[in-house]
C-alpha cells in the first residue's frame, strides 16, 4: 500500500476532525439564544453543520489516505489514566458517512422540521442533532475506555431525546423508553467490557489484548462486546428497540440513526474483534450465523410491515445482517489463515456500511418526503404518488434498487464481495460450510426485491388509496437536493467501486493488525468488470429505450388513454388494488410461525354476509412474545418484595431484631467465636 500522507498530515487530519466535531456540537447552541420561531437559528445550525461536514469529510478522507494512526493525549477524570484520541483509516472510513449524512440531514430538516412549523421542539431537536453527530465522531476517535463510554452515552442520550421529540404521543414515549432500556444494557455491557479488558490487559482502552482469546476471560469479553454492540447495531435477536425507535423519530433523524448511528455498533465490533491477537473459529462462525439469521428474518419481518418507516427499519436489521456476514467471513478467514477471505469479507463489510448509509438515508429521506406531503406512514393509505411527486419517486426507486443489491447501483458491489469470499470458502477444502451463507443471502436478496417492489408499487404506483394521497404534492428543494446527492453517491459507487479500493484495503489492514501480505482487492474482486457490466447494462437499456420511447411518443399511442384493462370486471376501484399486506401474504403466510401476525378475521355466518373488514399487523415477536412476559414476571416478583414494606412499625423493628440475630448467628456459624473460646 502506498503512503499518501505523512504522520504530521495525519495528526492535522485528526485535529481537523476534532474541530469539525466541536463545530457540530456547537451547531445547535446559537439557536438557543434566538427566538424559538426565528429561522436564523436553524439556518445558522445548518450552515455550521455543513461547514463542519465539509471540513470533516476532508479530514476523514485524509485519514483514509494514510496507513498507521495518529494519537493525541488529554487529562482524564480517572486516576492514572489519560484520555487518548486517535485517528486511523478505520475511524476515517466510519467518519465519512457521519459527516455526509449529517450535513445532508441538516439541510433536509430545514424544510422538513422548520422552526415555523415546529417552534416548540425545533431548538431542542437541532441542539441534540448536533451533539449526536459530534458524539459519533468522538466515539470513532476515542482510544481509551473512559472517553469512549462518555461519547457513547452522550450519543445514546441525545438519540433518546431525538426519538422522543414528539413526546405527546404515547407510542413515541413507549418507543423511547424501550430504546433507553436497551441502550442502558449496552452501556452496562460496555462498562463491564472495558473493566474486564483493563483487568486482562492493564490498559483501559483499545489496546491489543495480550492473552490468547481462547481463554474463558477472552470469550466473556467477546460475548460482552457482541451483546453490547449487537444491541446498538440491531443484530437479531437484540434488535427489538430498533423498529419503533426509527419509526418514531423525525425522518431525517431516522436517516441518521439508521444510516450512521447503528453503524457505531458495527464499528465497535470491528474494533474489538480487531483487538484480539488470535480469533477462535467459533467466534467467526457465531457472527456468520447471526448475520445469516438477521439478514433473512430482518427482511421477512419487513415484508410483514405496512408502516413505511417500520418497514425500512427492519431492512436496516437485514443490512446489518449482511454486514455481519462480511465481518464473520473475515473472522473465519483470520482463524483459518486465509488473508483473501479476510480482505474480501472486511471489504464487503465496510463497503456495505457506506452503501447502507447512502441508500438507507436516501430511502428515509424519501419516506419523510412522503410523510411530509401526505401526513401518513401507512402504506395502505398511499398510492399513485409517482405522478404527484415524480422527483421523490425517482430517488426512492433508485434507493430501492440499490438496497436490493441490484446492479448498476452500489448495493450490488458489496454483496458481490461477500459472495466472492463465500464462494472461495466453497472452493477451499474443509471450509465449505461457510459457503452455506450464500444461498441464504440469495434468498434474502430475492425477498428484498419482493419487499421493495411492494413498497414502490403500493406507495408510488397505481392509483391513490386515500384523499391525502390524492392531494399529495412534490416536496421543496431542500428536501430533494439531499436525496439527489445520495442517489448520485449510490450510482457512483455502483459504477466505479474501484475508487475506494485502496481505502478499503487500508481499513481492512487496520483491522487485521498488519497489511495483508500480497492481497489486493483489484486482484481478488473484478471491480473493473463490475464497472464495465454496469455501464453495459445502462447502455443497452438506453439503446432499447431510444428505440421504444419514440414509438410510445409518436402517434402510435392509442388516444384517448383509457383506464387499465379490468379483465371484464366492471366497477373497478382503487380500493380493489392489491394492498401491501395482500401482496406480501404469499410469503408472510409461510413465516406465520415467526411473525405471529395479529389478525382479525370476519366470520361468514349467513348466506349474504354483511360488509366485513379484515386486518392483520405484525408486532415485533421478540419484544412482545418473548421479553414482555418475562418482564411481567419480574414485576410480580418485585411486588412480592413490596409486601414487606407494609407500613407496620412493629414489623419494621422486628426486621432490625431479625437482622441482628441473623448476623450474630452468621458470626457463630463462622465458628470464629468457638475457636476463640476453646483456642485460649
Amino acid at each position: 500500500m502506498t503512503e499518501l500522507l505523512g504522520a504530521s498530515g495525519q495528526l492535522a487530519a485528526l485535529y481537523l476532525l476534532v474541530g469539525a466535531a466541536s463545530l457540530l456540537a456547537a451547531s445547535g447552541v446559537p439557536g438557543l439564544l434566538l427566538d424559538r420561531r426565528s429561522l436564523w437559528g436553524e439556518r445558522l445550525a445548518t450552515l455550521l453543520t455543513v461547514i463542519a461536514g465539509v471540513a470533516g469529510l476532508v479530514g476523514a478522507f485524509a485519514l483514509l489516505a494514510a496507513t498507521g494512526s495518529a494519537t493525541l493525549e488529554l487529562p482524564s477524570p480517572f486516576p492514572e489514566q489519560r484520555t487518548v484520541l486517535g485517528g486511523d483509516a478505520l475511524s476515517g472510513w466510519f467518519a465519512v458517512p457521519v459527516f455526509l449524512v449529517g450535513a445532508l440531514g441538516s439541510i433536509y430538516s430545514g424544510a422538513y422540521w422548520s422552526a415555523r412549523r415546529h417552534p416548540r421542539n425545533g431548538r431542542r431537536l437541532r441542539l441534540c442533532y448536533g451533539l449526536l453527530l459530534a458524539s459519533l465522531i468522538f466515539i470513532l476517535l476515542a482510544r481509551d475506555g473512559a472517553s469512549f463510554l462518555m461519547a457513547w452515552e452522550v450519543m445514546a442520550l441525545t438519540n433518546f431525546f431525538l426519538v422522543t421529540i414528539e413526546e405527546n404521543d404515547l407510542a413515541v414515549r413507549r418507543a423511547g423508553w424501550v430504546y433507553l432500556l436497551y441502550s442502558h444494557v449496552t452501556i452496562l455491557g460496555l462498562f463491564a467490557f472495558f473493566v474486564l479488558q483493563h483487568r486482562l490487559s492493564g490498559e483501559l482502552g483499545f489496546q491489543r489484548i495480550p492473552l490468547q482469546a481462547t481463554s474463558t476471560a477472552g470469550a466473556v469479553l467477546f460475548l460482552l462486546a457482541l451483546m453490547a454492540f449487537g444491541i446498538k447495531a440491531g443484530v437479531m435477536p437484540l434488535h427489538s428497540w430498533l423498529p419503533s425507535a426509527h419509526a418514531s423519530a423525525p425522518s431525517h433523524v431516522s436517516a441518521v440513526m439508521s444510516g450512521v448511528v447503528i453503524k457505531m455498533g458495527i464499528y465497535g465490533l470491528v474494533r474489538t474483534t480487531g483487538l484480539f491477537g488470535d480469533l477462535p473459529l467459533a467466534w467467526g462462525v457465531t457472527v456468520l450465523a447471526l448475520g445469516a439469521v438477521g439478514a433473512f428474518f430482518g427482511v421477512v419481518f419487513a415484508l410483514g410491515q405496512h408502516d413505511l418507516k417500520r418497514l425500512l427499519a427492519y431492512h436496516s436489521i437485514e443490512n446489518i445482517g449482511i454486514i455481519l456476514l462480511g465481518l464473520g467471513l473475515a473472522m473465519v478467514g483470520r482463524s483459518l489463515g486465509r488473508p483473501d477471505w479476510v480482505l474480501l469479507g472486511m471489504a464487503g463489510c465496510l463497503l456495505h456500511v457506506w452503501n447502507h448509509a447512502l441508500f438507507k438515508s436516501l430511502l428515509f429521506f424519501g419516506a419523510g418526503s412522503v410523510v411530509h406531503s401526505t401526513g401518513s406512514r401507512d402504506l395502505e393509505q398511499l398510492g399513485g404518488l409517482a405522478r404527484r411527486m415524480p422527483a421523490t419517486a425517482m430517488f426512492f426507486l433508485i434507493g430501492a434498487i440499490a438496497i436490493c443489491g441490484l446492479p448498476p447501483f452500489n448495493g450490488f458491489v458489496s454483496e458481490l464481495l461477500v459472495y466472492l469470499g463465500l464462494a472461495r470458502a466453497a472452493v477451499a477444502p474443509g471450509a465449505a460450510w461457510a459457503a452455506l451463507a450464500a444461498p441464504v443471502l440469495a434468498a434474502t436478496g430475492a425477498l428484498a426485491v419482493a419487499c421493495f417492489v411492494k413498497v414502490v408499487g403500493v406507495v408510488f404506483l397505481g392509483t391513490p388509496r386515500s384523499a391525502a394521497a390524492t392531494a399529495a404534492h412534490e416536496s421543496p428543494l431542500p428536501m430533494l437536493v439531499p436525496m439527489a446527492v445520495l442517489a448520485t453517491g449510490c450510482a457512483l459507487l455502483g459504477v466505479a467501486p474501484g475508487l475506494v479500493a485502496p481505502a478499503l484495503e487500508r481499513a481492512a489492514a487496520v483491522w487485521a493488525g498488519a497489511p495483508l501480505a500480497g492481497q489486493s482487492l483489484a486482484e481478488l474482486a473484478p471491480l473493473g468488470w463490475v464497472s464495465a457490466g454496469a455501464l453495459a447494462l445502462v447502455a443497452l437499456a438506453g439503446v432499447l429505450l431510444a428505440v421504444v420511447l419514440p414509438v410510445c411518443r409518436r402517434g402510435r399511442v392509442r388516444q384517448p388513454a383509457l383506464p387499465t384493462w379490468d379483465c371484464g370486471f366492471a366497477a373497478s376501484s382503487p380500493r380493489l388494488q392489491y394492498t401491501a399486506s395482500s401482496f406480501a401474504e404469499l410469503i408472510t403466510s409461510r413465516f406465520a410461525w415467526a411473525l405471529r401476525p395479529h389478525e382479525r378475521l370476519p366470520g361468514i355466518d349467513r348466506v349474504f354476509p354483511a360488509s366485513a373488514s379484515f386486518d392483520s399487523h405484525v408486532e415485533d415477536t421478540v419484544l412482545d412474545r418473548i421479553l414482555a412476559p418475562r418482564v411481567e414476571r419480574a414485576r410480580q416478583v418485585a411486588a412480592r418484595i413490596r409486601a414487606y414494606q407494609q407500613g407496620d412499625l412493629q414489623k419494621y423493628v422486628l426486621y432490625i431484631v431479625g437482622a441482628i440475630v441473623a448476623l450474630l448467628l452468621f458470626n457463630f456459624r463462622l465458628g470464629g467465636l468457638v475457636t476463640e473460646l476453646y483456642g485460649r
Binding site: 462518555m150 423508553w177 432500556l181 483487568r199 414494606q645 448476623l663
Partner: protein, 477 residues
C-alpha cells in the same frame, strides 16, 4: 473546646430560634451557612484551625466529610430561602433552627475522634431532623416522623451498645478501654475478637439504620416522602455520609484487628441486599420522593459493598460518597420544585414536568441520569472504579449482581421519572404560583454542575482531599 464549625451553627440556632421576624430567619440561616463554608474552607486550608483536641480533631476523612456537609448545606440554605418564600403559611422557626442544629451536629460527627462522641453527634442529628420531617404537619408527616424517630432511636441505641462492646473488647484485650479511633487502631491487634465481632455487627446494624441499609431502611421512604425536598437532600447527602464514615472507620479498625474478612463479608452481603431490594421496590414505584428514598438505599448499598471489598476501592468509595451527596442533593431539590409546581408527587398527579418547569424538569432529568451512573457524570467514574476493584478482587458473581442491580434500578427510576417528565400536564394538576427562581434553581444547578465536572475532570484539590482521606482509611488494613 469544641471548634467553631460546630459551635457557630449551634449558637446561631439559638439566635434564629429567638428571632421574631419570619423573613429574617431564612436569611440568617443562609448567612450562617456561608460563614460555615468559609470556616470549613479555612479549616481545610490551614491544619491549625482543624482543632487539636484529642477527641475533636479534623483528620483527613473528617476534612472530606466536613467539606461535603458544608457545601451541601450552603446550597440547601440558599434553596430554603427561596423555598420558604413559597411556604409563608408555615411557621419556619423550628425549621430554620433545627437545620442549623443538624449542621452543627453533623460537623461534630466530622470532628469527633471518639466513638462515643460520634454517637452523641449522630443521635443529636437524629433528634434534630425529626421536627424537619414534621414540617408539613399532616397526619402522613406525623406518621413518618414517628416511624423515623422510633426506628432510628432503636438503631442508634444498638450503635451505642456496639460502641460499648468495642470498649469492652479493648478492656478485655487488657489495654486501656479507650474509644479514641487512633488508640483503637493502634491497639487493634489485641482487641478481644468475639466482642469485636459482636460490636461491629451491632454498629453495622445501628449506623446501617441511619444509612438506610436493608433491612433497616424501612423508615427511609416514609421520611423522605413526607419531608420537604431540602430536608431529604440533607438526610440523603449529609446524614447518611456521616453514618457511612463511622462505618468506614469501624471496618478499618476491624480489619486492623484481623477480622477484616468477617466484616467485609457482612458489608458485601448487606450492600448487595440493599441494592437488590431497592431495585425491586423501585420497579413500578409511583411516588417520586419514595423513589428518591429507594435510590438512596441503593447508593448506600453500593457504598457498603465497596467498603466490603477490603480497602481496594477506598478512593472510589469516597469519590462515590461525594458524588452521591452532591447528585442526590441536586435530584432532591429539583424534585422538590416539581412537587411544589404540581402540588403532588405521584405519577398520577405529575406529568409533563418538562413542559411546565423547563429548568427544574431538565435538572430532574439530568440528575436522574447522573444518579443512575450514566457517563459523563461523576457517579459513572466512581461506579466504574468500584466495578474495577470488584473484578480486580475476582468477585465475578458480585460484579455480575452489581451490574444487574444497577440496571434494575435504572429501569425502575427511569419509568417513574419519565412518566412524570414527559407528556402533557394533566388537566387535574392544579395551577400553582411556583415558578423557577434563582434561589430554587441555582443550588441544584451548582450541585449538578459539580457532579458533571467530577465526571469530566477531577480537580487536583478534590483529588488530593479524597486521596488523603482514602490513605488515612487504608492505614492498618
Amino acid at each position: 473546646m469544641a471548634p467553631l464549625p460546630v459551635l457557630l451553627p449551634l449558637a446561631m440556632a439559638v439566635v434564629v430560634f429567638f428571632t421574631p421576624s419570619k423573613r429574617w430567619r431564612p436569611r440568617l440561616l443562609a448567612a450562617t451557612a456561608v460563614a460555615h463554608f468559609a470556616l470549613t474552607v479555612s479549616a481545610l486550608a490551614s491544619p491549625a484551625l482543624a482543632g487539636s483536641g484529642e477527641w475533636l480533631r479534623l483528620d483527613a476523612p473528617g476534612r472530606l466529610l466536613l467539606a461535603v456537609i458544608s457545601l451541601l448545606f450552603l446550597c440547601c440554605a440558599i434553596y430554603s430561602v427561596g423555598y420558604l418564600r413559597y411556604r409563608v403559611e408555615r411557621a419556619n422557626r423550628r425549621f430554620c433552627a433545627c437545620l442549623l442544629v443538624v449542621l452543627g451536629t453533623t460537623s461534630l460527627v466530622a470532628f469527633s475522634q471518639h466513638l462515643g462522641l460520634l454517637w452523641v453527634g449522630m443521635e443529636a442529628t437524629t433528634l434534630a431532623t425529626a421536627p424537619l420531617i414534621y414540617f408539613n404537619r399532616t397526619p402522613r408527616s406525623i406518621e413518618a416522623t414517628w416511624k423515623y424517630l422510633v426506628i432510628s432511636s432503636v438503631g442508634i441505641a444498638l450503635a451505642l451498645f456496639g460502641s460499648f462492646f468495642m470498649a469492652y473488647a479493648a478492656l478485655h484485650g487488657g489495654g486501656a478501654a479507650s474509644l479514641l479511633f487512633p488508640d483503637l487502631l493502634s491497639g487493634a491487634a489485641n482487641l478481644s475478637r468475639p466482642w469485636l465481632r459482636a460490636g461491629f455487627t451491632l454498629l453495622l446494624v445501628g449506623y446501617g439504620t441511619k444509612m438506610g441499609l436493608v433491612p433497616m431502611h424501612t423508615w427511609k421512604p416514609d421520611a423522605y416522602g413526607e419531608a420537604p425536598g431540602v430536608v431529604g437532600a440533607i438526610l440523603a447527602g449529609a446524614v447518611t455520609s456521616c453514618a457511612f464514615l463511622a462505618l468506614a472507620r469501624l471496618s478499618q479498625i476491624t480489619a486492623a484487628a484481623g477480622e477484616g474478612d468477617y466484616a467485609n463479608r457482612l458489608l458485601v452481603m448487606i450492600g448487595l441486599a440493599s441494592m437488590g431490594v431497592a431495585g425491586a421496590l423501585l420497579l413500578g414505584q409511583r411516588d417520586l420522593k419514595r423513589m428518591l428514598a429507594y435510590s438512596s438505599v441503593e447508593q448506600m448499598g453500593i457504598l457498603a459493598l465497596a467498603t466490603g471489598l477490603g480497602g481496594g476501592a477506598t478512593f472510589a468509595t469516597l469519590l462515590h460518597l461525594v458524588n452521591n451527596a452532591l447528585g442526590k442533593g441536586a435530584l432532591f431539590l429539583a424534585v422538590g420544585n416539581v412537587h411544589r409546581a404540581f402540588g403532588g408527587k405521584t405519577t398520577g398527579e405529575v406529568r409533563g414536568a418538562l413542559r411546565r418547569l423547563p429548568v427544574s424538569g431538565t435538572l430532574f432529568l439530568l440528575s436522574f441520569f447522573a444518579v443512575t451512573g450514566s457517563p459523563p457524570f461523576g457517579l459513572f467514574v466512581s461506579e466504574m472504579l468500584i466495578l474495577k476493584s470488584i473484578f480486580a478482587a475476582e468477585r465475578w458473581l458480585v460484579g455480575g449482581l452489581f451490574l444487574v442491580f444497577l440496571f434494575v434500578v435504572f429501569a425502575g427510576m427511569g419509568a417513574t421519572s419519565l412518566a412524570a417528565l414527559q407528556g402533557r400536564p394533566p388537566a387535574s394538576a392544579r395551577a400553582s404560583n411556583y415558578r423557577d427562581g434563582f434561589a430554587t434553581a441555582a443550588p441544584a444547578i451548582l450541585l449538578l454542575g459539580l457532579v458533571l465536572l467530577f465526571g469530566l475532570h477531577l480537580p487536583d484539590v478534590v483529588r488530593a482531599l479524597i486521596g488523603d482521606a482514602a490513605a488515612a482509611l487504608e492505614v492498618g488494613r
